[in-house]
Subunit: 247 residues, 2 copies
């Protein structure tokens, strides 16, 4: 056992829109690289999931409020209006940058509302309503089609406090435990590891991003060789507000 | 060109201490998996780098201040004293959790001071003095030994605001540009991507963590197949304090 992990891009998935069969496209793309194997993790970009689920808003149907105009600075205030509707709470704002807490509990810029790659001009893409359910549907469909048990992550690019740039993280999870808990286990010299949890679902999402790429139109990848087990949800990765020093 | 990326653990590196030849051990471990290839990224865990550089403190030589006792809660106040010495500033504290800004500019828990895996009881391991220089030394040595040009990342596990668990990030960088800047480039449907930077060095560090593992004593990995180019430093990933809404 080499212990290697492979990151395999799933090419050839076309631009999809509401009602298209994402699962079928993913299965076809996976077949082109030899198909899924048990224990694979499928990572799918949030945006393609949102599009097939119809989480797209046409900006000409949006009227910007005064608050949205104020926060938008030189950007389209209708987009900011959508952000405000998607946000449960504004965590920080410095126009036009708005850091929000979404209804799901994600803390991220612009409530995850995204303009690029929307597929049509003057539309924005929202986060999936329930990213865990989206992940579960993909997993169930792959099992039904191929009898293969995979983990699925629905990923998105989030900025971070203190560090520049985005890394992809796991919004929705099915078929793997997203936090590897080392509490109480002993390391190689016998020291007991206290309170060490590794966010492996986020590391897997970030790894997959390296082969997906925003400019190449590759919305999914297979991560092969991670030891996954159990089950969990994207919500398992969210810090409880009362434990959070930065909310 | 499949576009795959491989994550290859470097096994068999023994416990190292001050003055040991990390570069030689890495070269030996790499030889066991067929050697480096041009364009590989070598990821090495901060802790082994710090140990060979002598960034280790014996706690019996530390006297805890009143402030350290106060912040330590039920943990060893001498460890907290070391944290306070390593911190340029305390960003948030809820005893015994201390979020600090280090002298390098990293915002992280405990100023990166770590007890586990120190190799000896009652010692703690500090961050490397200059992680970029550590990365550069490894890169230079690999080039000298094999005429192969690799990128090098010195990584550590950092917690995040808002999300549970740690992900590995890049502290020191040599031989690759850590931020992929998509500003002004166009995505597949022609939308101009604004202000999109991907922290690929952090994604690479997190990916490598998936094959390294705190419990397995694997302190290094090769990431093969990332298109790296140019050069940069770990400091390129640090958000300028005046741009940072959470400092």
């Amino acid at each position: 056992m080499s212990g290697e992990i492979r990151l395999i891009p799933l090419r050839g998935i076309p631009e999809l829109r509401e009602g298209d069969d994402l699962e079928a496209e993913v299965l076809r793309a996976a077949a082109r690289v030899g198909g899924f194997e048990d224990g694979d993790v499928l990572v799918v970009a949030q945006k393609v999931v949102s599009k097939v689920e119809g989480q797209v808003v046409a900006l000409d149907e949006v009227e910007a409020s005064d608050r949205a105009r104020e926060l938008a600075a030189d950007l389209d205030p209708r987009r900011t209006e959508v952000i405000l509707r998607e946000a449960k709470r504004i965590v920080r704002a410095r126009a036009p940058l708005v850091i929000t807490e979404t209804r799901h509990g994600f803390v991220c810029a612009s409530a995850g509302v995204d303009s690029s790659n929307a597929g049509e001009p003057d539309t924005v893409v929202l986060l999936p309503r329930d990213p865990d359910a989206s992940a579960r549907r993909l997993r169930d469909r792959i099992r039904a089609a191929s009898r293969i048990e995979v983990g699925v992550i629905v990923s998105d690019s989030f900025g971070r406090a203190w560090r520049k740039g985005t890394t992809d993280v796991a919004l929705g999870v099915s078929g793997l435990v997203p936090l590897l808990d080392l509490n109480g286990r002993r390391d190689s010299v016998g020291y007991e590891l206290h309170a060490t949890q590794i966010a492996i679902a986020d590391e897997i999402a970030g790894a997959a991003e390296l082969v997906m790429g925003k400019l190449d139109g590759i919305p999914a990848a297979i991560v092969r060789g991670v030891a996954i087990n159990g089950d969990g949800t994207g919500a398992d990765l969210l810090m409880a507000p009362d434990r959070d020093l930065f909310r």
